[in-house]
Symmetry: C2
Subunit: 228 residues, 2 copies
């Protein structure tokens, strides 16, 4: 009867709407303060504080004290993947919090998933990298090819430093809006960072959405063309 890991604990942690909202907000990758998280959860700071303590005890969050603020982030990539995979499952079953509304399209187009690009653009980027032979795909596994490495170098993107990290270079992550895979892993993170650095895109204040500038949009679409 009592064997194996206790999924009820984390289930219950995620099962509270306020906590779920906070976790979803943290999927945006940004570190948020307790007060901000209380906002997204729709609750007072006191309540949020107890929720956050529970989430941290459960290994889903980690916090960093900075001055009189406390910044919370998802504990690690595993936690982020768990949340994302639940989102994927929920989306597939039609468990949406509301009908697809007017504000959703921007989120579907491009958003942050923990630390990499997701949404339509995220999926497009991976598709393009695969069809150009830069990335090999086997099932859910992804691997950067030599061609991919040199192609990236051509656009001023050095992969070498990434390869030494312990984190996998390429990883596929199921996109809940597109229901297809996009690129995660350290390469996914680095690519998104470079878009932001170059000013092609920017993050919005309180949301997970990513806004491409007209110029950035052009560059992105040129760099990652779709197979016709």
């Amino acid at each position: 009867m009592k064997e194996g890991p206790d999924i009820a604990q984390i289930g219950a942690l995620i099962g509270d709407p306020a906590r779920a909202n906070m976790l979803a907000a943290l999927t945006g990758g940004r570190a948020l303060t307790a007060t901000e998280l209380a906002g997204v959860g729709g609750i007072t700071v006191q309540t949020a504080s107890t929720h956050l303590a529970k989430l941290e005890a459960g290994g889903l969050l980690s916090q960093r004290k900075q001055g009189r603020h406390r910044y919370f982030t998802l504990a690690d990539e595993a936690a982020a993947r768990l949340i994302e995979s639940m989102m994927g499952f929920a989306a597939g079953r039609g468990h949406l919090r509301h009908r697809p509304g007017p504000k959703e399209p921007v989120l579907r187009k491009a958003r942050i998933c923990y630390d990499h690009l997701a949404g339509d653009y995220g999926v497009r980027m991976l598709d393009s990298l695969i069809s150009s032979g830069s990335i090999d795909a086997i099932g859910e596994g992804l691997a950067l090819t030599e061609k991919g490495e040199s192609d990236l170098k051509c656009i001023g993107f050095d992969v070498g430093a990434l390869k030494s990290s312990r984190r996998p270079l390429c990883r596929s992550c199921l996109d809940w809006s597109e229901r297809r895979a996009h690129l995660a892993g350290s390469l996914g993170k680095a690519l998104l960072s470079s878009f932001l650095d170059k000013g092609w895109a920017r993050r919005t204040a309180e949301s997970r959405s990513i806004i491409f500038s007209p110029e950035g949009d052009r560059q992105f679409l040129r760099l990652f063309p779709l197979e016709s």
Copy 2:
């Protein structure tokens, strides 16, 4: 605030201990009746009935009426993967329902994960297939090689029929006890079936564990040797 899929719903579904126990039991792949599930959940049939109705409404379970019995199974592979991934996460965080006890070793050695082999033997099998060149692994992706296909044919195992199915042939599944990948997908299912058919192993009555016969054990270890 209210954007994206509602993970709180499924979180709450899994978050109840009785429901979690039922789901974990169904990870064994066997279809169980409402009364049996009430047993593993430690609750009365009335309570179980309402729980099962909720789980079905949430898309986690499906039921099949047969005479006066109602057989419940996990809704599909996606549901099974969700449960398994939560188990993996929980195990990684030390959320165990009790200290590793005396009965656990047999479960760690070999058990069913939805419809394929998991545990020490499951991991060993995949490792062996990879090191012998039968399966290519890229990250989390797995692919059967031509050598693998012919090797399997040599031991009287025809892959042809499996390839036509819509379900992926090879899939990796994170093992919560070993914290490593084992083989899922239609090939994983077919291999386990063949072990059972040949009498190498049998399932136990009410548990997920798989017991190998002495002869089956020998054959299995011979067929899937470990890299030294």
